[in-house]
Amino acid sequence: MDEELERWARAWQSMEVKHVNIMKHSQTAHRHEAMWQGVLAVGVGLGVLMVAITLSLLAAGKLSERWPLPIQLLSLALGGWILWRSRQQAALARARLVATPLGFVTDLMGLRERELAGWVDKRGLLPGGVLISATIAICVARLARDRAAGEPHPFVEGLMGLELLFLVAFVIFGIRRVRYLRRDLATLRELRSELEPER
């Protein structure tokens, strides 16, 4: 190390690091994170259960009494899978942190690219949109018919309304997420070019 670097190093290492009990703060944050994971699990569980109840009530009324159980089991399996995936993603994120900076950025880019592709993939969006629209239309038509016949289902109608609200929120979230992902990808490309070895 020459004189200039030594001077800089002395100045740099003399930096005062604010003495806060970061360890305590971090442990609290760690606990909060764990708590939020629990809240997320309960939220996903409730959401899935609501979908299951709505579908079961609709199916039980018009189809057969054997329908509700498989639908609820399927919904629970779906909820379990969502939670398992989120755990897996958290583990991957932890593993990513110990990669080299270039590897870390490249990995993040891959992750963002996959997510973006998932959000804007026409092969998934189109059938999904048609399926959801058709399901909603059928449910609304059936509920309207029952109401006209003097047999309203206020509980199911309430759940249906709530699900529509969730759907709208999901669409808004999707649009914002796509915008964010595009911006983030551009930033990550920029960072990668700063980290790539000079040629």
Binding site: M1, E4, L5, W8, A9, A11, W12, Q13, S14, M15, E16, V17, K18, V20, I22, M23, H25, S26, Q27, A29, H30, E33, R94, A95, R96, L97, V98, A99, T100, P101, L102, G103, F104, V105, L108, Y180, R183, D184, A186, T187, L188, E190, L191, E194, L195, E196, P197, E198
Partner: protein
């Protein structure tokens, strides 16, 4: 198995300075520091001694810094708030020293990421081989980046000094 609490205590100054490479003083830096500690709380139990502990800890810390830079740039924040804020006043010499260090860290935050990392790791006393291990690059690349970082830092420091001179005059 490493003693996490002991490692975090031992590396506290290095981690604080690493956070200063990516975030201006204030709550932003504290947040980043906390993020680094959180990341280490998750990463340290998986340390198996494949590299030195210092390399491992610094890698995690710099990756947290990169994540913060990415978030800031994606949010289109042109300049970090408080980036040019003066440190708290104190006795003359002490305040001057603090100002010099803060100027140095501000100038470092303006360097391109690759050059910045090499410079800060050099100032932390790591050898070129160790820097190569932390960043996953060849030693000759470390040397090229260090040279570039030094000229950029000199350039920026003299520009800043001129600007301060003009401000006072």
């Amino acid at each position: 198995m490493v003693d996490i609490e002991q490692v975090l205590t031992e590396f506290r100054p290095v981690l604080g300075r690493t956070a200063a490479t990516y975030a201006p003083p204030g709550s932003d830096r504290d947040d980043l520091l906390q993020e680094i500690y959180l990341a280490l709380l998750s990463a340290l139990p998986r340390y198996r001694g494949e590299s030195s502990l210092r390399t491992y800890v610094l890698r995690v810390a710099h990756n947290c810094g990169i994540r913060r830079v990415a978030r800031r740039r994606s949010a289109a924040t042109p300049l970090d708030e408080g980036d040019h804020a003066s440190p708290a006043p104190g006795p003359d010499r002490e305040a001057q020293a603090r100002q010099d260090v803060e100027r140095l860290s501000t100038a470092m935050r303006e360097l391109p990421l690759g050059a910045r990392q090499v410079l800060v790791l050099t100032l932390e006393g790591l050898s070129q081989r160790e820097i190569g291990q932390v960043l996953g690059i060849e030693e000759n690349v470390v040397s090229v980046r260090l040279h570039r970082a030094r000229s950029l830092l000199r350039e920026r420091s003299s520009e800043a000094a001129k600007a301060r001179g003009a401000g006072h005059g």
